[in-house]
Symmetry: C2
Subunit: 253 residues, 2 copies
């Protein structure tokens, strides 16, 4: 019943033979123990999902014959996740969850209080590929290079709503309730949004700096959301905000 599922950039079409790369070969042959004649599902954003059979397999290389299309290409909703990288395990988790929750693009953003110095885009891409394979997506999210928040805001497309979650770690003065009352409950803010094109911005564990908050609040496309009376970690806030957006405006309805 469990047919392995692999994302391949190669064009997929009936009758084509495709050669797997090293990592996919290792996964298919060594981890999943598949061999000649076994079915595999292949997919990419352009061609959708296809059934294929293993025609040659060794520990070092594998060739698959593509037979028929299972699903046509279908993009996820136009939702970006911007987040300030946090500790490694939690950052990995954010990338995995954003993929499962159907974010189209993942953009690491460097803010004043971002503690992670190094952003490993190649690592994010491999996590996103594996999560897309598991979650039955037909594409993998685009992973952008890290950029400073100021640069990101300088180049913002004003037709895309920017939803800002400021979970300020354990600083009680910075929690939503006391924070000038600008943030509405996420569900209500999403229900009032006029555009479907959205980006969700998650701050670092220390929250945004006063300057960053001031700039965010001055921008007409920015909306602040609250995620309840408890302080959420950055990874929790990311999952919660993506979930609520998908339920209200995305493909969960």
């Amino acid at each position: 019943m469990n047919i392995p599922r692999l994302h391949l950039e190669t064009a997929l079409a009936a009758g084509r033979d495709v050669q797997l790369g090293k990592d996919d070969t290792h996964y298919l042959v060594t981890v999943m123990r598949r061999g000649q004649g076994d079915p595999v599902r292949l997919f990419n954003a352009r061609d959708g999902e296809w059934l294929a059979q293993v025609s040659q397999a060794s520990r070092k290389s594998a060739v698959l014959s593509v037979s028929r299309q299972l699903r046509e290409a279908r993009p996820v909703p136009d939702l970006d996740l911007l987040f300030a990288p946090v500790k490694k395990a939690r950052t990995d988790f954010i990338v995995e969850k954003a993929t499962e929750l159907g974010a189209r693009r993942i953009r690491p953003v460097l803010t004043r209080f971002t503690q992670s110095e190094r952003v490993r885009i190649d690592r994010f891409m491999s996590i996103a590929k594996e999560a897309a394979e598991q979650t039955e997506r037909l594409d993998i999210p685009e992973i952008a290079e890290a950029a400073t928040l100021d640069r990101v805001l300088d180049g913002w497309d004003p037709d895309r709503a920017l939803i800002y979650c400021d979970e300020a770690g354990d600083d009680p003065d910075a929690q939503w309730g006391g924070d000038a009352g600008r943030a509405g409950p996420a569900l209500e803010v999403f229900q009032r949004l006029a555009t479907g094109r959205t980006a969700i911005l998650i701050g670092p564990e220390g929250g945004f700096s006063p300057d960053e908050r001031t700039r965010l609040r001055s921008l007409p496309f920015v909306h602040a959301i609250g995620l309840g009376p408890r302080i959420l970690r950055a990874d929790t806030a990311a999952v919660a905000a993506l979930t609520l957006w998908q339920a209200v405006l995305g493909d969960w309805a």
Copy 2:
């Protein structure tokens, strides 16, 4: 600005001296490097949150003097999370997130396809305590002993709605769309629920067995919810379902 926050079962009242246990002492003195005169916040479900000062501190023991109440006790909404334990890191994550997302009780449930043999309740309790301290909760969730799904259902209070999420890993035949159409989008199901007393049940990565599904569907207090067109891992499904419940019926509104 950052005042450490500790959950203590000891009664909290103005003028009391309280002695910290070994783990809390280690956290306060060695990890947080706090010493005599430093402020600390103490809380529990009965007495709410109190300000205290360190009156004695060494690496081995610490005594705090409670000065004044900061917040009165306030319970989280009446929401249980029932989940089938999965791999260790993901199970730890579910306990942490359920605490942040305001579940009142966490109940490990053993289902047919549950792969984790050993459920470490003491470990769950320490994760829940730490998460409650971080998330500004005034209580820590109750952690129940693991029980089989059949036993849990045998003893069910019919006045509590049981919301069942069946994310069946990577088996496409078991995903929501093809699954007899009984599951409604989570947001709609929650909006129609007549009772606020709810439990959310998350299956293991392999989903529920046909027998388990049949029994769940036969029960009048059970409602199935869908969480979108992609397959979610158990930990993601837990966070998504808790989030939507809090946004619609809980204390996020």
